[in-house]
Symmetry: C2
Subunit: 228 residues, 2 copies
């Protein structure tokens, strides 16, 4: 007649944080699981809804448990950013011509991070040592530049210039459509207002895409001329 210490019953509708105190027989958390859950949570709730408490909830764990595997929220963001980088397309650096490779790399890079702009401040100052997949991307791109005959001493600068443009353009994708509507100040800004109107006439293409294309092609054209 042992007071059967059975689980809380109610198998249905009970995804609550029920687990008895102390180390569980099998580990519940690891960095990969945390990363996957974080990515999913961000997808569902955005970066505003992305809190350590919410992350813990989706993992059915107490918030403090996370800190056995990551040292801070920023740490989780680093894991997420590195994971996302593996979705950036570097395949063309192995096969196609240099300019096409840069094109597909840059567009996919921008597209991935335009949905994750809050990561940009993190990436921008993150040592590559802390992000292995990101490092792998740089290696693929560097190799592509090198094989295309790019002068060694300018490879990093060129990549950094492209990357800076990509990050800035990722923000641009998220801007509201009417961001340039000068409203009541239109009278005092005739040149700007006229330019905005002319652009609106042209455009069935997304303005962010047009601007990105313009800048990217400028860099590709000019950088391409540097090759030996």
């Amino acid at each position: 007649m042992p007071a059967s210490t059975r689980a809380p019953a109610d198998p249905l509708h009970d995804a609550k944080p029920r687990r008895r105190v102390g180390r569980p027989a099998a580990a519940v958390l690891d960095q990969d699981g945390i990363t996957a859950a974080a990515l999913q949570l961000i997808g569902k709730s955005g970066y505003d809804g992305f809190t350590m408490a919410a992350l813990a909830r989706t993992l059915n764990v107490a918030p403090s448990a996370l800190y056995n595997h990551v040292s801070s929220k920023r740490d989780v963001l680093v894991l997420v950013q590195d994971h996302l980088t593996s979705f950036v397309d570097v395949s063309a650096f192995g096969s196609g011509p240099w300019d096409q490779a840069v094109r597909s790399w840059a567009w996919s890079y921008r597209d991935v991070f335009s949905k994750h702009t809050p990561l940009i401040p993190v990436i921008a100052v993150l040592p590559v040592t802390d992000a292995p997949k990101t490092l792998a991307m740089y290696e693929a791109v560097s190799a592509g530049f090198s094989h295309a005959g790019f002068p060694q001493e300018r490879i990093i600068s060129a990549i950094v210039a492209l990357e800076s443009f990509i990050f800035g353009s990722a923000y641009d994708v998220t801007a509201p459509a009417d961001i340039f509507d000068s409203g009541s100040m239109a009278d005092s800004t005739p040149n700007f207002t006229a330019a905005v109107e002319q652009q609106d006439l042209e455009g069935y293409e997304k303005p962010a895409d047009v601007a990105f294309n313009l800048g990217l092609e400028a860099m590709i054209a000019r950088f391409g001329a540097l090759r030996g």
Copy 2:
């Protein structure tokens, strides 16, 4: 003996928030004062130390008083960003040749916001209506492009492309010097590691400046060719 309810005395070393409850005879706060104090506080304590409570303290006011003049912390950041924009140099668009004007505008724009990268996410999605000085900058730049014979329908795209590059490059300025040190993974990233080493050999100039120059000149050269 007399429990003399006199003011806390200590005229020295007493910049404490002393003011009796109720509306003061003369208003203590206004948006300009808040903006100036915010800018000063950010300069001294950085964006981490920039809290509504700290801002209130420097203004010798209760935190809640701020909300009579701004509706949120974001509002303060918008005020700061717009104020900073007036430090961006657009003067050359009135006088010199187009390419030189773009050059000085872009460099000064990057320099101003490289010390204020936390504002970039704010700027990037901010309707120009809410930032009059920013709008004025766009007007000056648009006028410069227009007078230089730039096709109307491409002016905004070109400015956006340049601006995206500028914002991304502002982040780059803040990156640690050893950000590309691949450390123990150097073996598996030969091309990247070699490129980083070659760059380091070259450089007495700041890497961020070299990259910015490279990208900027690419855009100037290409965009310049669009002029009619």
